[in-house]
Symmetry: none
Subunit: 228 residues, 2 copies
């Protein structure tokens, strides 16, 4: 299991050290800085999976860091949890508006922050943490970009791969064609609903192994689901 990468931006050395210790203890890979500009550099050179950002930091201000992170393509979708002093209500508002995902008010317990981070990580699709997903006899390795069923390597086109990954992230769950379009093709694509059918068929054909049953369940008038 490759550890999730955290970037901690905090200028109180004591707090920073404490958090670093706690998070590394939990299995995260943590990098720290107390400087805003530094944070941007670190984030750029190795995109973290989550950023913990103190609002009151030296150098570029928290809000500015946040904005710049959102602007850069690589870090645009990296979740940000900000740490604010209780009084800074304005900061909180601006923070949320600027694209922070969540905030934690100082003083907080490390435990609380850990919980928030864990929650965000869970939400941000486990695959991004680099873990392989297994559903039934299917196995998808996002790092190697490889899929196999019952040990047999499966060859998939890009779209089928994303489709399968999307299914495997929520095994058993039924998705409507519209949900699949949103999740696999992206919200802004305008593609025929029925096109989904075709890719479902291609995916089915690709992952079929004789003797093995069809893993994709058709739910008439509702959508499709991957059997869990």
């Amino acid at each position: 299991m490759s550890a999730a990468k955290l970037l901690l931006v905090e200028d109180d050395p004591a707090l920073s050290e404490l958090l670093e210790f706690r998070f590394e203890n939990e299995g995260y890979s943590v990098r720290c800085t107390k400087d805003g500009d530094d944070a941007l550099v670190l984030a750029a050179e190795d995109t973290p999976d989550l950023i913990i950002l103190d609002w009151m930091i030296e150098g570029t201000s928290g809000i500015e860091v946040c904005r710049q992170l959102r602007r850069a393509k690589e870090t645009a979708h990296v979740p940000i949890i900000m740490l604010t002093a209780r009084e800074d209500e304005d900061d909180r508002i601006r923070g949320l508006n600027t694209g922070a995902d969540d905030y934690v008010t100082k003083p907080f317990s490390p435990r609380e922050l850990l919980a928030r981070v864990a929650a965000v990580m869970r939400r941000i699709r486990p695959v991004l943490a680099g873990e392989a997903i297994e559903v039934g006899d299917m196995r998808l390795d996002p790092v190697a970009h490889k899929v196999e069923r019952a040990g047999t390597p499966i060859k998939l086109g890009p779209t089928e791969y994303r489709l399968l990954q999307f299914f495997m992230e929520s095994p058993g769950r039924v998705f409507s064609r519209n949900q699949l379009l949103d999740g696999v093709w992206g919200t802004e694509s305008d593609i025929e609903l029925r096109t989904v059918d075709v890719h479902i068929r291609r995916l089915r054909k690709a992952i079929e192994l004789d003797g093995k049953k069809d893993l994709i369940r058709t739910v008439r008038s509702a959508g499709y689901a991957l059997e869990g």
Copy 2:
């Protein structure tokens, strides 16, 4: 499709966009507006399952929107969560008096609002929150779109599925044929009353397991009910 429908009334574009994104990510179907009158129109044309209403909006004020929503038959019972500034205690009181179900004080984290919404959903309609319903030895999982009785998988057509779900949301309660038509087929469908009988018959046949008694009770000259 069984995604819960949200109506978001918020005039800060940044916040609105953030929330829309987060809620859609969670699987809700979201429509947004920043205008009070617009909200009323949207709510009227497709009744949402829950409304998130900013108290300080353009056009008709939040409190007035709330009042009008409560007045209209379709939206009278739709739960409303209002967003208020910390200072406006009066608004909160008036809001709750006017019929809002809950309020969240700005600034808030998206996570907090998500939790509130989920809580209300669970209270109002568990199915929309994705929770399985169990009635007697019947179990319906809305996420997987699966039904089983005493552990045995049950195969249902779309209409029978909706019919069963409708019954299971109010176990023991008797519904007239007209109520069933409204609830299962939709208000605007013009279908023979007696057609309901046929689908009741089909549902009965589908969920019958030998040795098990009929779960659907006929109430002569009144309608049908699912035994609780």
